[in-house]
């Protein structure tokens, strides 16, 4: 039963790898040069695709070359994968939780930035003892971003303003607010002209997991704990029951006496806090000096991650790890095989395409009686 559920994502991933492999191979000039000799061309194509994927593996999981001096060094790529996955897990959870409650949170990007601002500010401007400093920075991130997200919920509950529009706009607000903030004396690093905040103090930074050389840090486990907590919240608590009820049928929930307005507001608060915690992990874990580009595309990739995971909190962890690996490995792939990084983005897109269209995979493989699960975003614009 469990295995059957995994069949579809696995096939989707396989299909995406296959399709991208074709793309990698047949966009390569050396492969195309062999147009006249089909056999050689095919061989070369296989070699090219294989080489690209091998580079991807070396860049994301384990690099035998690095392992020659010190074995643990071989896991440097894996550590990078964890670093890339950590904020994605949290922003992914943010979007997934909102999905479960029938809300489409496009605002993880802005909430991520709000959290990063909070963590950075507490991180560099206060002097506190070790553990307390980290916790204080995290708390500031959660409060800043929680309110940033909660505002969206409140607006929707009070006035019916659609969360998609409000969150998209708030993403801009957050990004430009950050840019302005980095030009103020409070946030601009002394002696710098370019938007760069001071580094957060050592006392606030998250401890590394495998020694100083590998960047993997405690943030990954905090993200895992958050995933566990959200799973528990959704499946065991009265709050989660209401969240899911409103997400599945808000009219029936209302008729049964559940306050949809309160659910909307609290879900968006928690979703915001999760994304903001992602921002804190980035600041406290791997990028202690905040720049204008701190948000990267964590908030937008989160939507894809949540879709891939079908809004399941545990699935979100795995989807984020996959994306983290693609992100970390993509760089190596580009460096060592001349395959452009853009193709990694194509792989990501194809994975999601095949996952989001289970009917397509079912048709390709002629599967019957495989649970496709509910389409998570089927509610669309007016959900």
């Amino acid at each position: 039963m469990k295995l059957k559920k995994l069949l579809l994502p696995a096939l989707s991933f396989g299909m995406a790898l296959f399709a991208s492999g074709m793309l990698v191979a047949f966009s390569d000039s050396k492969v195309l040069a062999l147009k006249g000799q089909p056999l050689e061309m095919l061989q070369k194509a296989f070699a090219t695709a294989g080489g690209a994927y091998w580079a991807l593996f070396r860049g994301s999981i384990f690099d035998p070359q690095l392992a020659q001096d010190r074995f643990i060094e071989g896991f440097y790529p894996f550590s990078e994968t964890l670093v890339a996955a950590t904020p994605l897990i949290l922003t992914g959870l943010s979007v997934a939780l909102a999905f479960k409650a029938g809300l489409f949170n496009i605002g993880a990007q802005g909430q991520f930035i709000a959290g990063a601002i909070g963590a950075s500010w507490v991180g560099f401007s206060f002097e506190l003892p070790v553990v307390i400093h980290t916790l204080a920075a995290m708390a500031a991130a959660i409060i800043f971003s929680g309110f940033y997200g909660g505002l969206v919920g409140l607006l929707k509950a009070r006035t019916g303003a659609h969360e998609v529009i409000v969150t998209i706009m708030l993403n801009y607000v957050a990004a430009y607010f950050l840019l302005w903030l980095l030009s103020t004396t409070a946030f601009l690093r002394p002696g710098r002209q370019d938007p760069l905040a001071p580094e957060v103090r050592e006392s606030a930074q998250l401890p590394h997991l495998f020694g100083e050389d590998l960047r993997a840090n405690l943030g990954f486990f905090i993200a895992l704990a958050a995933a566990g907590a959200i799973w528990w919240l959704l499946n065991r608590s009265t709050w989660g029951f209401r969240f899911r009820a409103v997400g599945a049928n808000s009219a029936a929930s209302k008729t049964a006496g559940i306050s949809v307005a309160r659910v909307t507001t609290s879900v968006m608060f928690i979703a915001g806090a999760l994304a903001g915690l992602g921002g804190a992990m980035q600041i406290l874990g791997s990028e202690p000096a905040m720049t204008a580009g701190i948000g990267g595309s964590f908030g937008f990739d989160a939507i894809t991650v949540a879709l891939l995971a079908r809004a399941n909190p545990i699935g979100t962890v795995f989807a984020a790890l996959l994306f983290g690996a693609l992100r970390a490995g993509g760089l190596t792939m580009q460096a060592s095989t001349e395959t452009p990084l853009d193709l990694v983005l194509v792989i990501q897109a194809l994975v999601v395409l095949f996952i989001a269209a289970p009917a397509l995979i079912k048709a390709i493989f002629r599967l019957k009686n495989v649970e496709t699960g509910e389409a998570v975003a089927s509610k669309g614009w007016n959900g």
């Binding site: 029951f241 009820a245 049964a256 006496g257």
Partner: protein
């Protein structure tokens, strides 16, 4: 023209909706197809009309086998259909609706409505339908809209007319009118296939009756058969159509509503200055044609309407402005009109649906944690008490039949301490067995001293359950009359005619 179906089988996945159905409709005959909701009547007719393709079987017209692949083929073969939900565009005129899809043009592509208008007037005069071709459809009463559909079929030369549950939306008077018109059509040689689950109408209008149960033809009957015989054939077991009930033992006033007015967000009033009382131990039934403010009135009592003025009191306590939760917990059981939309969360399990209202209260929740074992035990108990037929209480509510869904709603609403039951169309779309169950349960609640406010558009239901009947027309209580008021009088009141 005669229509013959042979061995029609239609499957949807594992479900066989029509199982080798044979049916012959003779020339100039009114042939009733009687069956419960979900028996496969509509599927069969959609096959005949070309909206669905049968997996097996053949269709012949006048002894010649034909293939019907689309409604256009059906029309060409002389088969017309009036759907349960009318296929009319409200903002178009009658004539525009009728030419829709068959537009003729004059030179330069100008729409030729004149010939359609003439045709409409001709057919309308022939059958005394009194239809103005230039009237906007949205301004016509439902009964007239239905005539527009019939005229459309006749203009396109339908010799066999399929009427799918045509009386569901009509007042009793409009129903009688329709039945008379059906006989007129028959006299002029049109065959009619009349799909319904209402026994009285079948007996009144049909020449032949075919009964369908679970996708199969289970028998034919003549209109002289008794209602009980027809019902037993339809359900597959003996059925009692009468509701047994003792005289009401009236208690104090449970619900007092005074000067209640409800408006929509544009400020248009949907319920106007309504006042009434329901006492403990009685059933006040609100009759009326759908869409006269009943839904809004029902919802307002549990706080689901926003723009409400006036006063609603439950045992003397003002609950006009109470939240839904407070109203429910003050002792109101609410059975909403739409089970699917408002009553249940279909992707949730039966267990979860049973605690939608109580999930955060002991014993179901300990603090913020839902206690799964208590939820399951309680669900088992309710499943047994309310005879909910499901493989497991962990199955999703969407797997249940309509009757069992309604039982889940009832079970949940009656599992709280209740003083007042507000039930909106509680038997709509249910099979006869479930209707019996719901009726008995409502009587049980009344006999246990609860006040019951029942909203129903089915006159038979109103008459058999009510202790008093209120008739609602255009948002007002036009009259409150005793339970033994005649059908005719109720019908007139429903049409807004005061004595």
């Amino acid at each position: 023209m005669s229509l013959e179906l042979r061995g029609i089988t239609k499957r949807f996945g594992p479900l066989t909706a029509n199982d080798a159905i044979d049916l012959t409709v003779g020339d100039g005959e009114i042939h009733a197809i009687l069956g419960e909701n979900g028996a496969g009547k509509s599927t069969l007719m959609n096959v005949v009309y070309g909206l669905l393709q049968p997996d097996e079987g053949s269709i012949s017209v006048d002894g010649k086998e034909i293939k019907i692949e689309s409604p256009l083929d059906a029309l060409a073969a002389g088969i017309g259909m009036v759907h349960q939900h009318f296929m009319l565009i409200p903002v178009f005129t009658v004539a525009e609706n009728i030419v829709l899809g068959h537009e003729k043009t004059k030179r330069l592509g100008i729409l030729d409505l004149e010939s359609a208008r003439k045709e409409i007037l001709r057919v309308s005069a022939e059958y005394n339908f009194e239809i103005d071709p230039d009237a906007l459809v949205e301004n016509l009463p439902v009964g007239l809209q239905q005539r527009v559909e019939i005229i459309r079929a006749l203009i396109y030369d339908a010799k066999v007319l399929i009427l799918d549950e045509p009386t569901a939306v009509l007042t009793p008077q409009e129903t009688d009118e329709l039945l008379r018109n059906m006989k007129k059509l028959k006299a002029k040689g049109t065959s009619i296939v009349f799909i319904t689950h209402k026994l009285r109408e079948v007996k009144e209008a049909a020449d032949k009756i075919t009964i369908i149960r679970r996708g199969k033809v289970v028998g034919t009957a003549s209109p002289s058969a008794s209602q009980e015989e027809l019902a037993s054939l339809m359900v597959g077991r003996p059925v009692s159509l009468d509701v047994d009930k003792n005289p009401a033992k009236l208690g104090g006033v449970t619900l007092a509503v005074s000067n209640l007015t409800i408006s929509d967000h544009t400020g248009r009033s949907l319920v106007k200055n309504v006042s009434f009382e329901v006492r403990a131990g009685e059933i006040l039934a609100v009759a009326g044609v759908q869409g006269n403010g009943q839904s809004e009135l029902a919802e307002s009592i549990v706080g689901l309407q926003e723009h409400v003025t006036g006063k609603i009191e439950l045992e003397g306590k003002d609950i006009t402005k109470a939240s839904v939760r407070d109203a429910l917990h003050a002792g109101i059981a609410f059975v909403p009109e739409s089970r699917e939309e408002d009553g249940l969360i279909s992707s949730f399990s039966i267990e979860e649906n049973l605690i939608l209202d109580l999930h955060d209260l002991p014993p179901y929740a300990k603090g913020p944690v839902i206690s799964q074992s208590v939820v399951s035990t309680q669900a088992e108990k309710l499943v047994k008490e309310f005879d909910i037929r499901a493989q497991s209480a962990k199955d999703s509510a969407s797997s249940l039949s309509g009757g069992n869904k309604q039982k889940v709603v009832l079970a949940r609403e009656l599992s709280r301490p209740v003083k007042l039951v507000v039930a909106s169309q509680p038997t709509r779309g249910l099979d006869v067995g479930s209707i019996e169950f719901v009726h008995e349960r409502i009587i049980t609640e009344r006999d246990a001293g609860r006040a019951v406010l029942l909203f129903s558009t089915e006159l038979d239901e109103v008459s058999s359950l009510a202790d008093r009947i209120a008739v609602m027309y255009r948002g007002e209580f036009i009259a409150i009359v005793p339970a033994d008021t005649s059908r005719e009088e109720l019908g007139l009141l429903m049409a807004g005619v005061k004595r």
